[in-house]
């Protein structure tokens, strides 16, 4: 059986709860597509090699680097960006509220990635204690170094959601 190679691929996926279909070049990353084609600039480009985590998004609830994920690999999947965390009425997600109350950001560039990573970290069951959060959140670099506050926020959000 020969495979059908295409240079433009139609991809159906769900983005922040809404179904959409897009036609992309196979080499287009989820990160560049979100930022340049869709206009969702919350996901950031920090290194474009998967070494910083500022491009972290959720794919079917799993956290991934958008720069290491092709759009064509997301067919049939649900993608969540930071813009999709708050409720439809604008009510902040508990993790967003925890980041606010714990002062868990400074310049804010790594913050979208930290938030989504935190949401997943909690859902994975890795926000059990300080050491666990620090290890499992290490895929998101913060150069302003708000690490203690970020860790506190993740634990606070996990606690609020009944974990621990």
């Amino acid at each position: 059986m020969t495979l059908d190679f295409a240079r433009r691929v139609e991809v159906a996926l769900r983005l922040n709860g809404r179904d959409l279909t897009t036609v992309v070049s196979p080499r287009t990353t989820l990160l560049d597509w979100l930022r340049d084609d869709i206009g969702l600039t919350g996901a950031k480009k920090g290194c474009n090699e998967g070494a910083c985590g500022t491009c972290t998004v959720l794919v079917d609830g799993h956290r991934m680097n958008g720069c290491l994920t092709l759009v064509v690999q997301c067919a049939g999947r649900a993608v969540t960006t930071v813009e999709g965390l708050a409720g439809a009425d604008g009510e902040l997600h508990p993790v967003q509220r925890a980041f606010a109350s714990c002062d868990a950001f400074q310049c804010g560039y790594c913050t979208p990635g930290q938030l989504l990573s935190a949401v997943a970290c909690i859902a994975e069951g890795h926000a059990t204690d300080d050491a666990s959060v620090r290890e499992w959140m290490s895929g998101n670099i913060c150069r302003c170094s708000a690490y203690p506050q970020i860790t506190a926020a993740v634990l606070a959000a996990a606690h609020g959601q009944g974990q621990r």
Partner: protein, 357 residues
């Protein structure tokens, strides 16, 4: 990266069928491949996506073996109860690799095929300096330049790089076999021979070859003996997470007095219940130990494994054994420390696997 044409494979066979073409690459997670494309380490006109092949997923017990599909992600493997119970070194190695985000995409099939982190190799095209991997025959700049993080075994003047995969070290230590599919059908490759040092590749007449996988073959999974041995994976790196190893070590230890059946409690957990002091009086019945990031393949310390039975599970007893087993290390001018560091990593891994503190 250059543009490419894309197709999704419906079966492993159909994917294999495309690999005969030099301009075709397979993509699973893509966490290495995309960077190769960006840097000019690899280029493809056509990319075949095998990410949807459910037949390549799955982590199961199959008789005496644990079977892990090639598309299992590092996070899936690291937290799977079968793996944590029966291949703890592999679970630990998987979870200490990269970041949570990368581990959600990186597959165990792709992970062992990752290439060296040597900064000279990882330079963006156009290649700014000699690198025999990137431009065969041009030379090795690392040897003349910076090479603290490079090999102490198996290197040649043409290349001093190491294989950085953590899971590969555990797979080699645990006697795993890679199951591989090619145009001629399936075969297996023992993981302790999967990768090639530069010296071994030169002997084969292909000095820049890095592993025994054929260019038209696909890893479909791994089999390893389900084990009740205590296991550990020690990864030594200057920052606490999200970094490649300076050196690493995987170990599996069966303590003397452990019974074959129902011996589960004699693994690490059981030994800890006896208390560290009690464990220190223990002797090793059998052990397997492999070093990582000291060569272009995991470095099983076969000599140590032969000598270890009967050895007390103490630092004082283990260290000279490991030292003897590493006597053939050939460090480079800047990385002599790796001999000491790797020795200590092996000792620490054995102690941890045996349940000593």
């Amino acid at each position: 990266m250059r543009d490419f044409a894309y197709a999704r494979a419906g079966t492993a066979e159909s994917a294999v069928g495309t690999l005969g073409d030099a301009g075709t690459s397979v993509i699973a997670g893509g966490t290495e491949l995309l960077n190769w494309f960006r840097l000019g380490i690899a280029a493809a006109d056509r990319v075949v996506d095998i990410g949807g092949l459910d037949e390549l997923r799955g982590i199961d017990r199959d008789g005496d073996d644990l079977r892990i599909g090639a598309l299992a992600t590092l996070n899936e493997i690291g937290e799977h109860p079968l793996v944590t119970e029966m291949a703890g070194a592999l679970a630990s190695a998987c979870l200490q690799a990269a970041s949570a985000q990368v581990r959600n995409r990186a597959t165990i099939g792709g992970n062992v095929l990752q290439r060296t982190r040597c900064p000279y190799f990882r330079a963006e095209e156009p290649l700014p300096w000699p690198c025999n991997k990137r431009d065969p025959g041009s030379g090795c700049t690392s040897l003349a330049g910076r090479h603290e993080r490079q090999a102490i075994f198996g290197w040649t003047p043409d290349c001093v790089a190491v294989q950085p995969s953590d899971p590969a070290v555990a797979l080699a230590a645990l006697d795993a076999r890679a199951e591989v599919l090619g145009p001629a059908g399936p075969r297996t490759i023992p993981m302790r021979e999967f990768h090639l040092t530069q010296r071994e590749a030169a002997v084969l007449g292909e000095p820049m070859r890095e592993n025994r996988l054929g260019p038209d073959e696909l890893i479909t999974g791994y089999r390893l003996p389900a084990s009740t041995d205590g296991q550990a994976y020690i990864k030594v790196r200057e920052r606490a997470s999200y970094e490649y190893a300076l050196v690493s070590a995987a170990a599996a230890v069966r303590l003397a007095g452990a019974r074959a059946a129902g011996a589960r409690e004699q693994g690490a957990a059981g030994a800890r219940e006896q208390g560290a002091a009690g464990a220190r009086e223990q002797r090793i019945a059998a052990a397997r130990v492999a070093l990582g990031s000291v060569a272009q393949r995991p470095w099983r310390l076969a000599g140590a494994e032969a000598e270890l039975p009967g050895t007390p599970l103490t630092r004082e007893a283990l260290t000279p054994v490991i030292e003897r087993a590493m006597a053939d290390a050939v460090p480079l001018p800047q990385n002599g420390f790796k001999v000491t560091m790797a020795r200590n990593a092996a000792v620490r891994a054995l102690l941890a696997a045996g349940g000593a503190s």
